[in-house]
Amino acid sequence: MSRLPKLSEQIQDVSDPRDFLRTKLPELVDLDTLLRCHICKGFIKTPVLTPCGHTFCSLCIREYLNRELKCPLCLAELRESMLRSEFLVNEIIASYVGLRSKLLEIARSGPDGTVPHSDTSLIEIAPGDEGAHELSGDDDLQIIETRRNRPAKRNAEIVLMPSKKSRRDSEKPGISSMISKSKSPALPEDSAECPICQKHFPLEYLQRTHLDECLTMGSLGAAAKPTSPPKIGKASNETTVSVQPAAERISEPSVSANTTHSNRYLESGQKQGVARLAKLNFSSMSMQQLKSKLTSLKLSTIGSRQQLINRYNHYEMLWNSNFMDSIEPLEEKELRRRLASWEATHNSSEGTLRKGNISKLLNKNSTTRIKDFKTDRFDRKGWILAHQQEFNELLEEARHNLAKANKMKYSASNQDEVEDAEQAESHPNSISCEKGEIPSNQLVVKTEEISTSSQGTTGV
């Protein structure tokens, strides 16, 4: 299959479950859908579970709960204090996300097996992957005894295994830290591989900035794109080792990634020492009290009362998501940095509403104030100039894909599967609507897994 043009790679970075629709593995549409947040549509980041059994990104659901005290999926009553983190889901998703582009590549390869660098079909590769996973699981259980028997394999892991986790491990008790302790010495000091885009970055940069962008904020590939100039430029200045040629990675089962995620999961647990930030009743607080509260959190006290309130509210959300939910909490310093970048785009003087996390993305370019869209202050000209061409390209690309998809539909050998997958994906939406059940029970009109899972509980 021919190499896709650049822009469509960007669109792929805004990945969609339907990427798997017309591949050899359309079944993956379902899995890919399940691992996504129904608020932001991205892969769930720092998953939290509700009592009604639904899972969202910690930040997405916390932000929503500032507006409505109900579950977005089933409308059951919900409060922030009811949320529980799901470390296992976190690692499953991270593991999948790390594999996804590889899966897609394999699933898209031609019927003659035109995968670059190998003639392996997925069917052959999958058991290998699984085997590797099981092996590493065994390692963990048998602790260190067997480890020395396979130095070569470990070495391979060492090189690929980036995270600061392994350094932290030395301070931690527990099975996996005993294993990883022995790995640490061989780690390239400051370079680490992003589990998502598999590019190498300076460790600190990866953790502080890149991972976040790559995973959730995923600013449309700007971060994840291997060719993205600023990030890579920065990375290559500081990166010491580029571990493996990309081509080799394709055939190599991601042993290291599995181990990392398993380890992270094993090490996860109740965090200590950091208290939840409370919601404040601002109406009973003086300006002075408000300021001293912010000061105690090392936050700025500049701005109007409303700005201070917004600042606290947003920080409280970042804080609680980070320290209550995250498997690997960031430092306060980093939270303050995120607060600042949020404020740069949201907390303007007239802002009285709490602004969406998502809209933060709108405004990397501070000259374009999306926030003022509805007012005359919005710089429409600038906005158009900045984005129209890209957007036209996007639409062009979408049409192109549609045409291509239609063509493929007829030539595809696995036509049945394709159609099944299509039905699975689009049918539930249209069915419930076309039957006209809508006005009384709108929330049935959602994607597949919702309608099945919420049927029992929906009491709209």
């Binding site: 929503y64 600013s219 700007a222 998502i358 709108l362 957007f391 639409l395 249209s430 709108q442």
Partner: protein
């Protein structure tokens, strides 16, 4: 490109590449949060064979906040007022960020298929509808012929 939320790009791409039958939605070239929408009147409804123009706007807090949708084409319907505003719970109290542009437009289409005069927005229309449904439906047909061509 990095400045548009991922979710909006995703939805837009999908709306264009995989349109809902009977519904089109195109982002306005001046404003990528503003969509020009057409909905075909559902079969066996008084709006059959009509094509209705709507506008849809994604507020900057979308998806925390519901999209704003309004009919531009004149329509005789108990849940749609003279300004084209729509009485539809998913656009108001029952909005959930788990919904999306697609599902909202499907709901609007479904509302055309099943007008609900007991939850009216246009009171006079709803009264007509309750008092004499046949006449109201005839009038809705007539308006469809007049305005939604």
């Amino acid at each position: 490109m990095a400045s548009l939320p991922k979710r909006i790009i995703k939805e837009t791409e999908r709306l264009v590449s995989d349109p809902v039958p009977g519904i089109t939605a195109q982002p306005h070239e001046d404003n990528l949060r503003y969509f020009q929408v057409t909905i075909e009147g559902p079969q066996q409804s008084p709006y059959e064979s009509g094509v209705f123009q709507l506008e849809l706007f994604l507020p900057d807090d979308y998806p925390m906040e519901a999209p704003k949708v309004r009919f531009l084409t004149k329509i005789y319907h108990p849940n749609i007022d003279r300004l084209g505003r729509i009485c539809l719970d998913v656009l108001k109290t029952n909005w959930s960020p788990a919904l999306q542009i697609r599902t909202v437009l499907l709901s609007v289409q479904a509302l055309l298929a099943s007008p609900n005069p007991n939850d009216p927005l246009a009171n006079d229309v709803a009264e007509d509808w309750i008092r004499n449904e046949d006449a109201a439906i005839a009038k809705a047909r007539e308006w469809t012929q007049l305005y939604a061509k």
